[in-house]
């Protein structure tokens, strides 16, 4: 053992660190500054997604030169590493030290669940632009008065998708999806709607998150299924279609929206052509507003925007809309939430408004992967061509809010697999 000089020295360092922290944190700003904290994974396996998120918001800020109706936007990005506890720590930092007016983002559904209570505890606005966990704006909505969602619920696009599957004449569908809450909710939404119009989910296969070798799972897929419904994330979404093709399975493939997101599409091969998915956005949307957005984004960042980019771009646009109404003054957290929830806007994804539980009502697009030229680019590329639009879809679809909220949240076991063989 050694004596105390090191101890006193090192504690001195700690103390100095503390004092430093104290100094920095006292920076309550002028009235005309709007401090926005932004959480995205900028390191780790989700770093690229995080970049898409940040770029989306940044693009809008650059367009308006960081000025929201007179309020100067101070945009502070923190790395949440795709881990809920890290997200919580960073939010603590953003609120306590940077004194942000609101914080935005988080990638995973689980991060959304972790951040929402912090917004309640520290009475700070949380705009969930990406986390899609259903209950944030459903059964748990009352717990989170400072939460507004500008993204979507996991099941939202999959309700109309289920109905669309019925229209195609599919009767029996096998589901294979990543085994975690987001996967459960996506499959759950699809199953609920598909079975409501007479279809049958005949099996559910849950490969663990991070599976790259689907060898053990593919042979289990029932030969007499009419189609396959799938949801994969990250490296899984690249591997699954490849292995499905090489296993010689030629059934139609339906997928949760993120499976074919523009973020992964350029890395995919022709094996995904013809796969159909549903989401509230597609870069292939041929509206003037979206065409302009895609071109601006691609011009600046060299790639097609994904829904991760669009959702945060639109979020910035909606916040700007609120600040226009308050003439650049921060209206206070509660008032801001109220104003944001009442925004109605024409955006890149189409018309957006929020329902009374502060979740968007927007179009859901059924999209088919095609190789073609689009938006005036001269190369053949993979795009999510829109083949059908369900306008103004809310999170409860046609089930009715009260009825819907009576059922438990979608999970591995809900809805129960009545037709599993």
């Amino acid at each position: 053992m050694s004596s105390g000089i090191a101890r006193s020295f090192s504690w001195g360092v700690v103390a100095a660190g503390l004092a430093f922290g104290a100094g920095v944190s006292r920076d309550a700003g002028a009235a005309q500054e709007l401090r926005i904290g932004f959480l995205a994974p900028t390191t780790g396996i989700f770093a690229q997604v995080g970049k898409d998120m940040t770029n989306g918001f940044q693009l809008y800020l650059d367009e308006v030169k960081g000025d929201f109706a007179g309020a100067k936007v101070k945009f502070i990005v923190e790395d949440e590493e795709g881990k809920p506890p890290v997200g919580v720590r960073k939010v603590e930092k953003l609120i306590r030290q940077d004194k942000v007016h609101m914080f935005i983002g988080g990638l995973l559904a689980s991060t959304g669940y972790a951040l929402a209570p912090v917004s309640t505890r520290l009475k700070t606005v949380y705009v969930a632009s990406i986390p899609a966990a259903d209950d944030l704006t459903q059964r748990d909505s009352a717990k989170f008065p400072y939460l507004v969602r500008t993204g979507w619920t996991s099941s939202q696009p999959n309700h109309p998708f289920g109905e669309w599957a019925c229209e195609q004449g599919y009767k029996r569908i096998a589901a294979i999806a990543a085994d975690y809450a987001f996967g459960h909710e996506v499959v759950g939404g699809f199953q609920k709607a598909f079975e409501a119009c007479g279809g049958r989910i005949i099996q559910k296969i849950w490969p663990p998150l991070g599976t790259i070798d689907f060898g053990p799972f593919l042979p289990a897929i029932k030969k007499d299924a009419d189609a396959i419904f799938t949801l994969m994330v990250g490296p899984m979404s690249l591997q699954f279609p490849k292995q499905l093709a090489s296993a010689g399975i030629k059934k139609p493939v339906l997928g949760g929206g993120t499976s074919y997101d523009e973020f992964v599409l350029p890395s995919m091969g022709d094996e995904v052509i013809g796969h159909v998915s549903a989401l509230q956005y597609s870069a292939a949307l041929e509206t003037p507003q979206n065409a302009a957005f895609v071109k601006k984004y691609r011009g600046k960042y060299g790639k097609v925007p994904s829904y991760y980019s669009e959702s945060n771009y639109t979020t910035a646009q909606m916040i700007h809309e609120v600040m226009k109404r308050t003439k650049g003054k921060w209206p206070g957290a509660q008032q801001f939430v109220k104003l944001l929830a009442s925004v109605k806007l024409e955006t890149a994804r189409g018309p957006v408004r929020l329902d009374e539980m502060k979740n968007p009502v927007h179009n859901v697009y059924i999209r088919k992967v095609e190789r073609k030229k689009l938006h005036g680019y001269d190369k053949d590329e993979l795009w999510n061509s829109v083949i059908k639009t369900y306008p103004n879809v809310g999170q409860f679809w046609k089930f009715g809010k009260n009825e819907f909220l009576k059922q438990p949240v979608y999970s591995r076991d809900f809805p129960p697999c009545k037709h599993c063989e």
């Binding site: 053992m1 105390g4 090191a6 101890r7 660190g17 944190s25």
Partner: protein, 334 residues
């Protein structure tokens, strides 16, 4: 153990440093209070690991498991049974330590047989088991969503207030430090040092070294469980991410950085790692490399950790002084 003066001075300096933390923190920003609270909780975990690594010579890579057990127990009791949100908080503290100890008692049956790198691997694997449990046992642990806790306990003292919570955590930290300090100075604690230095010899001297290691393992588990209870309330969230290997590695590196076999070294390491991780990560994207660099340099050039610096300085001074004397003698003889 050597002589009376050094320990007293050491005690004085540690006491002064702790007092400084206690006095300065409340006047710092609210974020600093949160950070210091986090550091103190991790200090308890790091010290518990130091009992194994520094004193017994058992490099455990599974310490996060006990943090997880304590944390999940707290969260499950709080959300399902609304238990532990009033004075029963103290019961949960006891239960948290108990579940940490029980888990360690179970894991120890497998781990204690092994030594060195095999011990490392087994504890790593057992730690992963707990992670797997947290991640896969959806109905109990909430899977990857984890469990969000209700507001912190209120038993006349409102822990929801961050400063109050800091004081309480500081109290737990101090109590842990005192208890573990007494432990390592006790006959049992000294037997652990003997096992670290020469286990075979200890066996010949009449020690059932397996039993001593096993008991140390359980004690470390209990303090890990305590850290878990506090961690759950500090974050308001338990998540499989708390139980991942990285948490165990962090704890290990805190001990190595501060100086194994010193207890306060672990606390110091916890302070530095938390400060670096939370501050640096908000400043630069390459903070992980800095942290990694600090670790590598410590292991290569400062195997005794930061706590060994004064000893090194003293030795260096003594050496240069010795050289000076020789020189003067030489010149005198000419």
């Amino acid at each position: 153990m050597k002589d009376g003066h050094a320990p007293r001075r050491k005690l004085l300096i540690v006491g002064a440093a702790l007092l400084a933390v206690l006095v300065i923190t409340p006047f710092s920003g609210s974020y600093v209070i949160v950070l210091v609270t986090h550091a103190l909780i991790f200090a308890i975990l790091a010290m518990s690991l130091d009992i194994l690594l520094g004193y017994t010579g058992l490099p455990s890579l599974g310490q996060a498991a006990y943090l997880g057990m304590g944390g999940y127990l707290t969260a499950i009791l709080a959300t399902r049974y609304q238990f532990g949100l009033d004075w029963t908080f103290w019961v949960v503290v006891a239960l948290g330590m108990l579940i940490g100890a029980a888990t360690a008692a179970f894991f120890g049956l497998f781990a204690i047989r092994a030594t060195g790198v095999y011990f490392l691997m087994i504890t790593l694997a057992l730690g992963m088991c707990v992670w797997g449990l947290a991640y896969r046992w959806n109905s109990v642990t909430g899977g990857d969503n984890g469990i969000v806790l209700p507001p912190r306990p209120d038993f006349g003292i409102q822990l929801a207030d961050d400063l109050t919570f800091f004081y309480v955590v500081f109290g737990f930290f101090l109590a842990s430090l005192v208890m573990m300090t007494i432990l390592v100075g006790s006959p049992f604690g000294r037997s652990l040092v003997g096992i670290r230095e020469n286990e075979l010899r200890m066996r010949i001297l009449g020690y059932n070294t397996w039993l001593h290691k096993y008991i140390a393992f359980i004690i470390a588990g209990a303090f890990g469980g305590l850290a878990g209870v506090l961690w759950a309330h500090a974050h308001g969230l338990v998540s499989p991410e708390d139980v991942i290997l990285a948490t165990s590695v962090d704890a290990l590196l805190m001990v190595v950085l501060g100086g194994p076999g010193t207890l306060v070294g672990g606390a110091l390491g916890a302070g530095i790692v938390v400060a670096l991780r939370e501050y640096l990560s908000t400043l630069v994207p390459w903070w992980q490399y800095v942290l990694g660099g600090v670790y590598v340099l410590t292991i290569l050039y400062l195997p005794g950790g930061l706590m060994s610096i004064p000893e090194r300085v003293r030795r260096w001074r003594a050496q240069s002084r010795g050289a000076g004397v020789e020189k003067s003698l030489e010149s005198a003889s000419h």
